[in-house]
């Protein structure tokens, strides 16, 4: 099954064995494609995963540590085909990741997202309140991960309103105007988890009933909250108490794999869509660990053809809680926080000779 065919499937509900059958073939084909098109990637795979591709298992596919996208611009297309470079904000002063998108990959990412989001939003585009400022999507050469996330979600909404000003102060009139006009019907509230946590409760303190019809979709950057002891359960409870929010759905995703969005299901756990999956690895041996054992999250995706980002070892810790349980079958997982340092040795050496392409 080709990646484009996988995108026509329902995003959730597939048994793990079925998913692995198309992920295995698709990922192997992507590895071959990127090895042929991106010399630096080919060197990395040759050095770190000798004999890769022979095995039929998804978990045996080569992976790249996510940090590589900070140090190298890895591209599998000619420069003239690049329509946009995504730049994600680096953690604590590090360089940002840079990911080149061609028209094909960008369109595939958008289509993947349009298959996934109706699972929580329905087919109707909802009035959309964005807990951020409009500058985050300002046109420019490089887009931040936050801006890219907002732009990616905007087609699912209409009558968009930005809740914050440039200095991140509340736009009281804009928020009240939005709620007065659209609060009587289902509407979408979207933002990054930390932004929502910081700005939504004070904004709603005086009018908690106004979010009765809201569905919040939020994700990205639990690091700051985990430091305060805030997990998803605490987040939901506090937002319900202080902002009157009844429905919140979190997602997990990253700029290096836009369009691969892992969505929270009714079980409160994150679920991989049909074209993506997670693998949890032991941070000492990099072996896959069993269900229930925490480790480093690897994300795989059938979407990227313009850069070798189809199999990425993240810098997040996570744990798979269940497999094939409940309506959304497949793996259900939880993100536990960041790993201190996840870059295997030899990485820079293998990629270095000859730059990105």
């Amino acid at each position: 099954m080709t990646p484009d065919l996988v995108l026509t499937l329902p995003p959730f509900g597939h048994a793990q064995a079925d998913k692995e059958s198309w992920l295995r073939d698709g990922l192997a084909a992507l590895t071959a494609h990127h090895r042929a098109a991106c010399p630096a990637y080919d060197r990395w795979v040759g050095a770190m995963f000798p004999g890769a591709g022979a095995s039929g298992r998804v978990a045996d596919q080569p992976w790249l540590p996510v940090g590589v996208f900070k140090t190298h611009m890895l591209s599998s297309v000619p420069e003239r085909d690049v329509v946009r470079i995504l730049a994600s904000s680096g953690t604590s002063g590090q360089a940002p990741s840079r990911v080149p998108l061609d028209a094909v990959t960008a369109a595939r990412q958008a289509r993947a997202l349009s298959g996934i989001m109706p699972a929580v939003l329905g087919r109707r585009r909802l009035p959309m309140l964005i807990i951020d400022n409009e500058d985050s999507i300002a046109s420019g050469a490089a887009l931040s991960a936050r801006g890219a996330g907002i732009l990616g979600m905007m087609p699912f909404g209409r009558h968009h309103a930005f809740a914050l000003d440039r200095d991140l102060s509340l736009r009281r009139e804009a928020v009240d105007g939005f709620l007065d006009r659209w609060g009587g019907e289902p509407f979408l509230v979207f933002g990054f988890t930390f932004m929502v946590w910081t700005h939504l409760p004070p904004a709603m303190a005086e009018r908690k009933a106004a979010l009765a019809n809201a569905i919040l979709v939020h994700g990205g950057g639990w690091k700051a909250l985990a430091g305060q002891g805030v997990d998803n359960d605490v987040f939901k409870a506090v937002l319900r108490r202080d902002a009157g929010l009844e429905r919140a759905v979190s997602f997990y995703g990253m700029a290096e794999q836009v369009g691969s969005v892992f969505l929270e299901g009714d079980d409160g756990l994150l679920h991989a869509p049909a074209a993506a999956d997670v693998i949890i690895r032991d941070p000492r041996t990099w072996d896959e660990v069993p269900v229930g054992v925490p480790g480093v999250i690897q994300v795989v995706s059938l979407l990227p053809t313009s850069y070798p980002g189809h199999s990425i070892l993240t810098e997040d810790m996570g744990v798979i809680e269940t497999v094939d349980r409940g309506e959304w079958k497949g793996k259900a997982f939880r993100v536990l926080g960041r790993v201190p340092r996840a870059e295997p040795r030899g990485c820079s050496d293998a990629l270095a000779a000859g730059g990105g392409r």
């Binding site: 028209a103 958008a110 109706p118 087919r123 585009r125 046109s139 087609p155 209409r158």
Partner: protein, 79 residues
């Protein structure tokens, strides 16, 4: 003004083009103004002008002027 001219005007306004600029051959991302932000501006303008609500897939599929005409036709906008 004909419906077609109205659509042309909305394209120019959404992408900050001059009056009279030829938009019939425009495609998404072919000009700086038609980026993701300009795209949402265009969608909002079309929805307001013709009092309709496009489905998400149509929002994503509207990748050229010609495609916009086709999609609007589906919603009963005679062009």
């Amino acid at each position: 003004m004909s419906t077609l001219d109205t659509i042309r005007t909305l394209f120019r306004q959404s992408f900050d083009l001059e009056d009279g600029a030829d938009v019939d051959d425009l495609a998404y991302r072919a000009i700086p103004g038609w980026d993701s932000v300009g795209h949402m501006r265009l969608i909002a303008a079309l929805e307001t002008e013709f009092d309709l609500m496009l489905e998400t897939d149509d929002v994503l599929d509207m990748s050229s002027f010609a495609k916009a005409r086709e999609i609007l036709g589906k919603y009963g906008v005679a062009v």
